[in-house]
Symmetry: none
Subunit: 145 residues, 2 copies
């Protein structure tokens, strides 16, 4: 489980440290690796622990390679996924294509979102936080399921 917001930087080689708190959560679950991918709805990267990723993989592996509908979805939503290891200091190397897609500059923001983590460019994060949610889209998170 991942919660909290952390401001970090990406160095010249495209590396950025995963917040220590998230690393703890990962290693507690015995998952030394994460998966980076495009977040489909806006300019951010999704970071998945392996258990969540495995669920996704299971679905993808079950589909037929010739099922056009499935393949289109896989191509669009999963093909950007990139498994990355953490270096000794808990940093990940963000592949250039993903860095560019999400518009990641030097300053980035890690956001714990429960089972997954988001990674934003600082400006994109600010913008996303400032955006109003249309009234009909608001969910009462405290209400009963």
């Amino acid at each position: 489980m991942f919660f909290g917001t952390f401001h970090h930087t990406i160095d010249a080689k495209g590396r950025t440290s995963l917040p220590a708190r998230f690393r703890e959560a990962l290693s507690a679950a015995g998952e030394p690796r994460v998966v980076l991918m495009q977040y489909p709805h806006w300019r951010a990267l999704l970071t998945l622990p392996q258990s969540v990723w495995n669920e996704l993989v299971k679905k993808v592996m079950g589909a037929s390679p010739l099922d056009a509908r499935w393949q289109r979805n896989v191509l669009k939503f999963v093909s950007s996924a990139h498994e990355v290891d953490l270096d000794v200091h808990g940093r990940v190397l963000v592949p250039p294509a993903l860095r560019e897609w999400a518009g990641l500059g030097k300053e980035v923001v890690w956001v714990g979102m429960g089972p997954v983590i988001h990674l934003y460019d600082k400006a994109a994060h600010t913008e996303q936080m400032a955006a109003e949610i249309p009234p009909d889209q608001v969910v009462d998170l405290f209400g009963k399921a």
Copy 2:
């Protein structure tokens, strides 16, 4: 299992390197060879490890010889299949007919799709990624089975 997107080039002789990550996955499975063929649904090449290819062959062999529609489809792209070896640097030689069919120019894109790999011309890939999936065709890959 193949995942991730990789931008490579094809040289004047029609060779292009299979991404190292895919090569690892192949050799881990003890499969030093791949099969290239037309992807029936859009302009791309399918790249199969031998085990998957064998599955396909088995299906083809078991199909009803009188199902004309299926036979026509199977024949069409199975006949395009081409077994290729990797050179010492992990490159494959894409046969001219397949290169032309998929419209492969100098810049190509390898896409891991789980059990199989897609190979696109860069422009074709961009186009395919940009295409919207009709709402009723969208699959929620994160949702419950």
